[in-house]
Amino acid sequence: MPRREPPREIPAYLATGGRTRPHHPLPDMLTRLVWTRVDSDTLLTPAQQALFDAVRGGSLTLADAAVYLRQPLFAIRILASDLIEHELIQAAPPSAQSDISFLETVLHGLRKLKDTA
């Protein structure tokens, strides 16, 4: 698959305003960012706006957002934390899927994928 055009390039330290720690710890990079359906009337920085725009289209994990916005994970965490504070997005950590039945579903799905490959 060809590499997608990078949408934006803002140095990480400019994106975060020099901050290195988010208010909301978002340790799991599969945490999903979901739009709260509130439109922003707060003045966002370009980097915050870029993340907000991305999340407005659908739910994104921190990892996916980092790749899409070409920012390191720590910057995405800080930006996401900002938007959570503005109540523009919510963070949905991946549920603790440690139960056997979920893994059964995964196993079943993998076997089916193999058959169709």
Binding site: T20, A66, V67, Y68, P94, T105, V106, L107, L113, K114
Partner: protein
């Protein structure tokens, strides 16, 4: 929006269905053992994140104190996504993360292993020691793992017993042979891993 953007909008991000449960798995191993190959073989979509040369100006002051000679950092992320049933928005989506090759990416290791359910430790029998460090890091993280020997054509024959001894592998840790380039073979490795994780969860439930 009242104001249309003057630039061409970038292609949209790769969204995931909101109802889909996510499962994080790790492909670990040393440099050149086939991590990227395996991620690529099984994923419908692969994301590569190699960038951010951090100059001294962007390094936070507090971390500079601990590493005064450090001027650049490269942050890399390499992962693939595998939707188990694209027609079903509730079907699990697997995230397969390749680990960085070198120890200096410990921060990335932490991020990658956080919340991961299992890992495949890749081994190249021509240079097995390449994966020792990754194995140590996996051990420290406590993630259940299996060892997958990536069968390179010119690899020497080494018996499983010898491999197990060399790695000091517990008898309960699965050791498999597979071809990281081959989709079915790589999926087999994932199947074996998920089975192993299930076994461990079952044992925990009994205890």
């Amino acid at each position: 929006m009242a104001f249309a953007s003057s630039r061409t909008p970038p292609s949209p991000p790769d969204y995931i269905p909101e109802a889909a449960p996510l499962l994080k798995l790790v492909v670990a191993g040393g440099f050149g053992v086939g991590k990227t190959t395996m991620v690529q073989a099984v994923s419908e979509m692969r994301s590569l994140h190699t960038e951010q040369k951090m100059t001294a100006a962007s390094v936070p002051v507090d971390s500079l104190e601990h590493t005064p000679d450090k001027t650049t950092t490269t942050i890399t992320m390499d992962f693939g996504r595998l939707t188990l049933d694209p027609r079903d928005p509730r079907a699990p989506v697997l995230y397969l993360f390749g680990t960085p090759g070198q120890a200096r990416f410990h921060e990335v290791w932490k991020d990658i292993t956080y919340g991961a359910r299992g890992a495949v430790l890749l081994l190249d029998l021509r240079r097995p020691q390449e994966s020792y460090e990754a194995m140590d890091l996996l051990e420290q993280s406590g993630i259940p793992y299996i060892v997958g020997i990536n069968d390179f054509a010119d690899a020497p024959y080494v018996s499983d017993t010898t491999v197990r001894k060399g790695l000091d592998l517990t008898a309960t840790t699965p050791l498999i042979h597979f071809d990281a380039r081959d989709r079915n073979s790589a999926i087999d490795a994932l199947i074996r891993l998920v089975q192993h994780v299930m076994t461990i969860y079952r044992q925990d439930a009994v205890r």
